[in-house]
């Protein structure tokens, strides 16, 4: 049962992206379809010609890779500004020296360059496959890691910036940085938890005290996702399914518990997906 649910879940999550792609493809082909409908006479089109109609417009590339955040130039500019903000924040929190600032700027710029070099490599690959339906599927597999990176930011775990940060800060600076980082992550996490409980409320019809207790139960666990990104909401749902039944029984009604079990049965299947995307295992706050 679980494996079926896992497959369904994964299919849903991945299909969401693929459907988006299809939507854009459909739009790209919309003009041709409309023209065909307007024409009264429909000619038989040879099979070879039909196969050649698989054409993906160039502008779709940015949409897929950057996910509606803008084009490469705009995002690069935004990353540049974010790097400045990151270093300013460190300066405020830890009082870093000029040498440390330079090292961090250099590392951050390295991350941005490396990322956009990789995007350009991918763009070249796209040019080769955009008219070939079979090869396009392979290309699509390569797009997904970029979507994760652009969703989670350029200076996350594994980046040059992150490594330089760990090697550059003194233990005292590091402690200050980590305290502020924890606070930020706790805020991000709480906002996600409140949104998930709010969404759940739409089918469970919680009372205010029940909503607040559920939020507190999750937040008090102090277990955060390893990475923050667009699938945080799924992670919180998964975490909810891991709560002890006894604790829920203390404040939820029997019918609510039964309905919650239906949700839990499904979201437990998210685990492999969340692991493979870096959200699990959780980290202690």
């Amino acid at each position: 049962m679980h494996s079926r649910l896992t497959t369904m879940t994964l299919t849903f999550l991945l299909l969401r992206r693929v459907l988006l792609a299809i939507a854009v493809l459909a739009l790209a082909g919309g003009a041709a379809v409309a023209r065909a409908q307007d024409d009264e006479e429909v000619e038989d089109i040879p099979q070879a010609e039909v196969q050649q109609q698989f054409v993906v417009a160039d502008e779709n590339f940015d949409q897929w890779v950057f996910g509606g955040r803008g084009n490469a130039a705009a995002i690069r500019k935004r990353f540049d500004s974010q790097l400045v903000l990151q270093v300013e924040e460190l300066e405020r929190m830890c009082g870093i020296s000029e040498v440390q600032k330079k090292k961090l700027h250099l590392a951050g710029r390295g991350d941005i360059k490396r990322l956009f070099d990789q995007v350009e490599e991918l763009r070249k690959k796209f040019q080769l496959v955009k008219n070939d339906q079979n090869k396009f599927n392979e290309f699509w597999q390569d797009v997904q890691p970029f979507q994760v990176v652009f969703s989670q930011g350029a200076f996350g775990p594994g980046s040059f910036f992150d490594k330089t940060l760990k090697n550059t800060l003194s233990s005292e600076q590091s402690a200050s940085f980590q305290a502020a980082d924890r606070e930020r992550r706790a805020f991000q996490y709480r906002s996600t938890v409140e949104a998930v409980i709010g969404m759940l409320d739409q089918v469970m019809s919680f009372r205010a005290d029940q909503r607040h207790k559920l939020v507190d139960l999750l937040v008090e666990r102090k277990k955060l996702p390893r990475a923050f990104g667009q699938y945080n909401y799924y992670l919180v749902l998964y975490q909810l399914s891991q709560l002890q039944e006894e604790k829920l029984k203390e404040f939820l009604d029997e019918p609510q518990l039964k309905a919650m079990h239906k949700v839990f049965n499904q979201v437990r299947g998210y685990e492999p997906f969340l692991k493979s995307n870096g959200y699990l295992p959780e980290v202690e706050l």
Binding site: L19, G68, S81, F187, D201, R207
Partner: protein, 390 residues
Amino acid sequence: MLFVLLLLCHFALAQEKKRTAENPPPQKQDAKNEKPAAPAEKKLEPKVIQRKLRARTDLTTEKLPLQEVVKKLSEFHEIPIRLDKEALKKANVALDAPVTVNIQNYTLSAALKHILKDFGLHFGVVDGAVVISNMPPEPEEQAVVADVAVVEEARVVQQMGVNEAQQLQQTPQYQALLRAELNFAKHACQATPEQMQALRDELDHANKNQQNQNQPQPNAGARNRVVVRRQAVQGQAGDPLQLARNQLAGAVKKCLSAEQAARFQEELDQRTADGRRSAALNLVARLDREMILSATQRDQITESLLAHWNDAWCSSLQMFMYNDQFFPAIPDAHVVKFLNETQKKIWVTIPKNQGQMFFNGFMGGIFGEEVLWNEDEDAPVKQKEVKTEQ
């Protein structure tokens, strides 16, 4: 799939807008010596008037005289619109009564209604022109205006991607939502079993009335669809959750004591407050990811958003889950004053979404059509008992 449909519709609308902006309506090419008739003097065929009343309109005015506003609309849409001066006198509305509006992507018909309603004025089609007066249009004219309204709403629905099939699919989900809401009322109001039965009876009664009202009548099919769809567009009663909650709120007022109804209302108010807080926190979390806010900035912006909260900023929490770039068109004044110079540069690059999405099912339907709530603690037992007695 609904998400994709909405996306398609949103994109298509954006493209249409773009095309319109790039290709403004052609100016009339009249003969050189022939003075073109002023729009207000022209006469148009009823079909042409209908078409023009459906055209899209953006209009922003700040205390502009009413007759100037009418002239603007008339010239822009090349349609004769006349003010019935005598009727305006009777209604005590001056020709230069100030009009302040900000409307985007309305049809001309909707724009006129919006502008005129504050003055208690109406418009109708008379002798090939749109005439503004203090009298509602004659039945025949009203049909023309109503037809236009029907098409308007259908267009909006098309943009929202809500179709008949989805409306039908909502039925079991709706029943499940209603069961959950009944449970909510039971505990929030500490209702007795008799009161719960009264609530169920009242809801059944309301549903039957609703069904009767929705029975197709001659020449009214399109209008019925529009009623349902208009509700969906507004995210109000067409949204099964909102419909269930509204119906229950009505039933609670009728069937429970004033004290219980007050407790119920308190819970609803808290639910609204929690929803807004949750949306505000998620918006600030998005800004934080983009702009590396300080803890103080996070608090300040959250407080500012909540103090000036507008429900249109976030019609549904699912927006956050399904669109990790979602950020509504929040006025700069509520955010920018808390940002530093580098953050301000990022703020202007964040795309601000104007569109609304309509989500079907829990978390946008990730559980498909599964009905999550089958339990109604009392009702099934009581029904069985009645059957046994019979």
